[in-house]
């Protein structure tokens, strides 16, 4: 009888009542936790299903030999797709293009963006208007950016650059055919410099003015102020720009499609994946293996990036 004493016995001693309360509190806490989590769940589930699950499929496809057209049965071949990539000259070209394109576009737009941000971070006539002019390239549809540059700026017949070159006596250059990769990089830099500029500008405007004043009173030169105060202050902003820029630029597709339409000199891996699969190759096994390589490269970048981000979020706790 006594050994089956129920928890909720009305004549229970003070111990049991405490336990009861604790239990109730735990129950409430758990409820409270779920109430807090609930608003998060739809977004979380949606994101997992749409963005994470396909990668698992990709991983699986990459281990198979599988062509959609002509339809062939899917056979498991292990890592053969990956070892084949090493010997694939076209893939090696695409990988190299990816590296050069991403690195040079991020670096150049970051440098230019910082320079322009410094120019804009001073009072001058028409400051807001000039800023508006400068952000516009980032808002323009990437496809349009590519087409305009190709046909109206680079073009050897009707392009503005060649017209200027002719004025100073230099013969027409067919930029896109002669320098396909760099033509695309220039367009990318044109589109991403405004983005970098805006991030750096946000950094410059968050600079503590009293420190700058003090440095100036102490007779520090502009150069010393820039290198010893401004640049260290800008570091997280430069990191953020690099991070966001690389994430997007490693995936460039639109500009390649409209400027060169691909080719060994200008296809990056994402574009090559498209060519080998939906774009006409229909070799889903091999193309998946290539896409996994991009994913791995991005994870490496992301690890660096997340470390940066965690530094940024450090010490910020809303709870």
């Amino acid at each position: 009888m006594t050994d089956t004493q129920p928890d909720t016995a009305p004549d229970a001693g003070p111990d049991t009542r405490d336990e009861e309360r604790a239990e109730e509190r735990r129950h409430l806490e758990r409820r409270e936790k779920w109430i807090r989590r609930l608003p998060l769940l739809p977004a979380l589930l949606f994101t997992i299903v749409i963005t994470q699950v396909p990668f698992v499929f990709s991983l699986f496809y990459s281990l198979t030999d599988w062509k959609i057209i002509p339809p062939t049965p899917r056979t498991f071949i292990g890592f053969d797709n990956f070892t084949d990539l090493v010997d694939n000259q076209f893939f090696r070209d695409a990988a190299w293009v990816s590296v050069v394109m991403t690195a040079s576009a991020v670096l150049l737009s970051l440098i230019l963006g910082t320079g322009i941000a410094l120019l804009l971070d001073r009072k001058f006539f028409g400051q807001g208007f000039v800023r508006t002019l400068l952000i516009t390239p980032f808002l323009v549809m990437p496809v349009v950016a590519g087409l305009v540059w190709k046909n109206q700026v680079f073009s050897s017949q009707y392009g503005v650059i060649n017209w200027l070159l002719n004025l100073v006596g230099i013969d027409n250059v067919e930029f896109v055919t002669r320098y396909p990769l760099w033509s695309i990089v220039i367009v990318l830099v044109w589109e991403w410099t405004p983005f970098m500029m805006l991030i750096i500008l946000a950094g410059l405007q968050g600079q503590p003015t009293d420190v700058l004043e003090a440095a100036r009173v102490d007779g520090a030169t502009n150069r010393a102020i820039f290198f010893q105060i401004t640049l260290p202050h800008l570091k997280p902003y430069l990191e953020l720009g690099t991070l966001l820029g690389s994430i997007y630029l490693i995936q460039v597709f639109d500009q390649i499609e409209v400027i060169t339409g691909g080719g060994p000199d200008s296809s990056n891996i994402p574009f090559f994946v498209f060519q080998r699969s939906i774009g006409g190759g229909w070799d889903f096994g091999a193309a998946s293996a290539m896409s996994i390589v991009v994913v791995i490269a991005s994870i490496v970048l992301a690890n660096l990036g997340l470390r940066v981000l965690s530094g940024l979020l450090e010490g910020e706790d809303p709870a």
């Binding site: 936790k33 807090r36 609930l38 608003p39 998060l40 977004a43 949606f46 994101t47 749409i50 963005t51 699950v53 396909p54 990668f55 499929f57 496809y61 322009i116 006539f125 800023r131 002019l133 400068l134 516009t136 390239p137 808002l139 323009v140 549809m141 496809v143 349009v144 087409l147 305009v148 109206q152 009707y158 503005v160 002719n166 044109w190 946000a202 950094g203 968050g206 997280p236 902003y237 994430i247 490693i250 995936q251 597709f253 639109d254 499609e257 409209v258 891996i269 994402p270 699969s277 193309a287 896409s291 996994i292 991009v294 994913v295 991005s298 994870i299 997340l306 940024l312 979020l313 809303p318």
Partner: protein
């Protein structure tokens, strides 16, 4: 002594002028390709396809050309309507999903809010190319290829992490004391939201939605892979104006201007707030 300072001040003023002028020059240089595109859209083909000229008889005929319907080809109206609905519905879905999530990360944060935020952002690190083939297969098997639906779903997923990220930073700006004060006054959750939180974050919501609109409107990769036919969007329509036969420069310019205008205007209006949401959210 005094003449010395005068010289220095004069020099400073001169440098300031020069730097201002340089900023203007850079601004105009960056804007030039867009200016040139708009200008070419008002030309006759023959004028656009010749050495660059600044002065010409402007005409609206190219706009008439590109907006007229050719049977069997993707028309402007169709592409615009497709883009409009896809962008609108996906942005509404993003906001419906992202607002509660951001609330859970900022105002009444879950315990591991940092991990959750990282997860959302980390999905942006995975290149879409790594998912495109399975997405294509799934869409094909569900009969969703070439529909608006597939783009609505994917654009929602594409913008969601960014929206959560931005909205969280706007929610963080709501002073906690205000919410507590409302609680003490006996306001329920709904009351706190409508009377305290929403008025403060409303401009941030608008800026976030606008950024989603811009990204969805400009998106080309997914549209061209999953939806090159019926539900085609504006970017695909723009590229359809490139022809291999005959001159197309002026027409392409008119089409490009039409496709670009809505988003550029939206971006100009919201520039300051968008930047704050993006940059200040990360660094504070």
């Amino acid at each position: 002594m005094s003449s010395d300072t005068g010289l220095v001040v004069g020099q400073k003023r001169w440098t300031s002028w020069a730097l201002g002028l340089l900023a203007w020059a850079v601004g105009l240089l960056f804007f030039f390709p867009i200016f040139w595109m708009v200008l070419n859209g008002f030309k006759e083909e023959i004028d656009a396809n010749s050495s660059p000229q600044l002065f010409f008889d402007p005409t609206l005929d190219r706009y008439r050309d590109v907006t007229s319907e050719t049977p069997g080809l993707l028309g402007f109206k169709e592409a615009f309507a497709n883009s409009f609905w896809i962008v609108l519905i996906s942005t509404i879905l993003v906001m419906i999903l992202a607002v509660p999530a951001a609330y859970s990360l900022a105002i009444r944060p879950v315990r591991k809010w940092r991990d959750v935020l990282f997860f959302f952002i980390s999905t942006k690190f995975l290149p879409i190319v790594g998912a495109i083939l399975p997405l294509w297969i799934i869409a094909r098997d569900l009969d969703l290829l070439n529909t608006r639906t597939v783009l609505i779903i994917l654009y929602t997923a594409m913008n969601l992490p960014l929206a959560v990220w931005m909205l969280r930073s706007f929610f963080m700006e709501v002073p906690r004391e205000l919410i507590e004060a409302a609680q003490i006054d006996g306001a329920g959750l709904r009351g706190q939201l409508t009377s305290v939180v929403m008025p403060i974050v409303a401009p941030g919501l608008a800026a976030t939605a606008l950024l989603c609109v811009i990204f969805a409107w400009n998106e080309f990769f997914l549209a061209v892979q999953l939806n090159p036919v019926d539900g085609s969007t504006m970017p695909i329509w723009v590229t359809s104006n490139v022809s291999t036969r005959g001159n197309f420069l002026a027409k392409l310019s008119a089409a490009s201007t039409l496709a670009t205008l809505p988003v550029v205007l939206a971006g100009w209006v919201a520039q300051k707030r968008m930047i704050r949401g993006l940059a200040m959210g990360a660094i504070k």
